[in-house]
C-alpha cells in the first residue's frame, strides 16, 4: 500500500490546495475498491508488480491531476490562428529583412578586408547571430504577450463575436495585375528611358561651370544595358496593361529583367565608373581623391546591392513557380478567378 500512498501524494502535489484532500480521498477510495475487487476475484493479495501495473493504467500523476483542473491556455483556439498568422507576418516583414541586412553587413565587413582580423570577423558573426535570436525571441514574446491580453479581453467582452460580413475584404485574384500600378510602371519606365537617353548617353554626364563629371569609357555598356532594360520593362508593362493577368511566361520575363538589372547594377558599383570630377577652386589632386572616395564608397555598398538583388530575384522566382502551378487558363469571370471547378463538358454516346 506504500506504493498507492506515494502515487496519491504525487497526484496531490499538482492539485489546488482547496480541493486536494477531497479529490485524493475519493481517488484513494476508488483505487482501494478496485484492488479489493481484483483480490477477491483472484483469491489472494495483489503483488507489488500488479499494483504497479494498475497505477500505470491510471496514468502519470500530473496527467491524472490535470483532468481535475479547469482548462488552461495562454492563447485559446479562437485567437490561435490569428496569432499564428501574425507571427508569420512578423517573421516575414521583420526578421527576414533583418537577416538579409545582417548578411549584408557581414559581407561588407568581410569586403573591407580584415580590419579586425579573422577573429574579429568571427566575433561579429557570433554577436550578430546572437542578436538575431534575441530579436526573434523578443518579437515572438511581445506578440504572445499581446495575444494573451487579447485572449483575456475576448473571454470577458467576446469582441470577436460582433462582426459585419459586409466588411469582409474582397476576394483577391492572385493572377490579377493592378492596372494602376502597371500604368505607373509604364509611365516611370518611359520617363526614365527618355531622361536616360537625353542626359547620360555620353561619358561626360555633366559639363557646367559649377562642375564637370566624367564617367569611365566603359560607361557605354551600362548606358545601353540600362536603356534596353528600361525599354523592355516598358514593353512588359504595355502587355500587362492590355492583359492584366500574370502568366508563367510574363513572370519569367520579369525575373529575367530584374535579374539582369540587379547584375548590371552590382557590376556598376564595382566598376570605378567615376573617372573625373572637376570642381572650380578645387585642386586636381583633391578632385581625384573625391572621385576615388566615391568609387570606393560605391564598391563598399556592393553587398547591400547583392542582398537587395537576390531578394528581388527570389520574389520573382517564387512568382514564376507559383504561376506555373496555377491553372493556365486566364480567368473569364469572377467565380473562375476564385477556383471554381467548371463542370466537365457533356459527352454524347
Amino acid at each position: 500500500m506504500e506504493l498507492i500512498d506515494r502515487y496519491l501524494h504525487a497526484v496531490k502535489f499538482w492539485l489546488p490546495n482547496e480541493q486536494a484532500d477531497d479529490i485524493i480521498a475519493e481517488l484513494s477510495e476508488d483505487i482501494r475498491a478496485e484492488i479489493e475487487e481484483r483480490e477477491s476475484s483472484l483469491g489472494r493479495d495483489l503483488t507489488t508488480e500488479e499494483i504497479s501495473g494498475l497505477l500505470r493504467e491510471r496514468g502519470r500523476p500530473v496527467l491524472v491531476a490535470n483532468r481535475y483542473l479547469p482548462q488552461q491556455h495562454l492563447i485559446g483556439p479562437v485567437l490561435f490562428p490569428i496569432y499564428k498568422f501574425v507571427l508569420k507576418i512578423v517573421a516575414l516583414c521583420y526578421l527576414v529583412p533583418w537577416f538579409l541586412v545582417w548578411i549584408g553587413l557581414i559581407a561588407a565587413g568581410a569586403d573591407q578586408g580584415g580590419t579586425r582580423g579573422p577573429h574579429g570577423w568571427a566575433a561579429t558573426v557570433g554577436s550578430m547571430w546572437g542578436s538575431l535570436w534575441f530579436t526573434a525571441f523578443i518579437s515572438a514574446g511581445v506578440v504572445t504577450l499581446v495575444f494573451a491580453c487579447l485572449e483575456r479581453a475576448e473571454a470577458k467582452s467576446h469582441f470577436l463575436r460582433t462582426w459585419d460580413p459586409v466588411k469582409l475584404p474582397a476576394v483577391r485574384n492572385p493572377r490579377l495585375i493592378s492596372r494602376a500600378s502597371t500604368g505607373i510602371e509604364l509611365a516611370v519606365s518611359m520617363l526614365v528611358s527618355v531622361w536616360w537617353a537625353e542626359n547620360l548617353s555620353s561619358p561626360v554626364v555633366l559639363h557646367r561651370p559649377a562642375a564637370t563629371i566624367v564617367f569611365a569609357p566603359w560607361w557605354n555598356y551600362y548606358f545601353w544595358g540600362f536603356l534596353s532594360l528600361s525599354f523592355a520593362a516598358a514593353a512588359l508593362a504595355c502587355v500587362n496593361l492590355m492583359r492584366p493577368y500574370w502568366t508563367a511566361i510574363r513572370a519569367a520575363a520579369r525575373l529575367v529583367l530584374d535579374g539582369a538589372g540587379a547584375t548590371l547594377f552590382c557590376c556598376l558599383l564595382k566598376a570605378n565608373i567615376l573617372a573625373e570630377i572637376v570642381l572650380p577652386n578645387v585642386p586636381p589632386e583633391k578632385s581625384h581623391a573625391i572621385a576615388a572616395a566615391i568609387n570606393l564608397w560605391a564598391a563598399r555598398t556592393l553587398p547591400a546591392g547583392v542582398v537587395v538583388g537576390v531578394a528581388i530575384v527570389t520574389i520573382d522566382a517564387f512568382r514564376v513557380v507559383r504561376f506555373r502551378n496555377l491553372r493556365p487558363a486566364p480567368p473569364a469571370g469572377f467565380l473562375n478567378t476564385v477556383g471554381r471547378i467548371d463542370p466537365p463538358p457533356q459527352t454524347s454516346k
Partner: protein, 122 residues
C-alpha cells in the same frame, strides 16, 4: 482510413453522450466505483480520470449533490441527482431523442437514395 482517425472520431461522438449516461445512472444514488461499474456493464466504458472530474463539474453546476458516508467500514462519496439535475436530465433526454430521430431520418433517406439516379443539373 487510419485506425487513430476512427478512435478520435469515436471519442468525439461518445464525449457528448457521457453526461447523459452519468445523469441517467445517477437517478439512483451511487458512489464513484459502483457508478463506473454500472456504466461499464451497460457498455459505457469510462476511465476514472474522466468520470471523477465530470462528477465534480456536474456538482459545481448544481446538477448533482454528494455526501461522504461510511459503508463497509470505509468512507465513500455518494452522488445523486439534484432537482435541477432531474430537470436537466429530462431536457437532455428530449434533445437526445430529437437527435436520434433526425439521424435515423437522414440515414434512412441516404440508404434509399443510393439506388436512385442523381437528379439532372438544371
Amino acid at each position: 482510413m487510419k485506425p487513430e482517425t476512427f478512435d478520435h472520431l469515436r471519442l468525439e461522438l461518445r464525449r457528448g453522450c457521457l453526461v447523459l449516461a452519468v445523469l441517467s445512472a445517477l437517478r439512483a444514488e451511487q458512489y464513484g466505483y459502483t457508478l463506473r461499474k454500472i456504466l461499464a456493464e451497460h457498455g459505457v466504458e469510462m476511465d476514472e480520470g474522466t468520470l471523477y472530474p465530470l462528477l465534480r463539474r456536474l456538482e459545481n453546476q448544481g446538477l448533482l449533490e454528494s455526501e461522504w458516508r461510511e459503508q463497509d467500514k470505509r468512507n465513500k462519496r455518494f452522488y445523486r441527482l439534484t432537482k435541477d439535475g432531474k430537470e436537466m436530465l429530462k431536457q437532455l433526454l428530449v434533445e437526445w431523442q430529437t437527435i436520434d430521430s433526425a439521424l435515423r431520418a437522414v440515414m434512412k433517406e441516404q440508404r434509399n437514395g443510393t439506388d436512385r439516379p442523381l437528379p439532372a443539373r438544371g
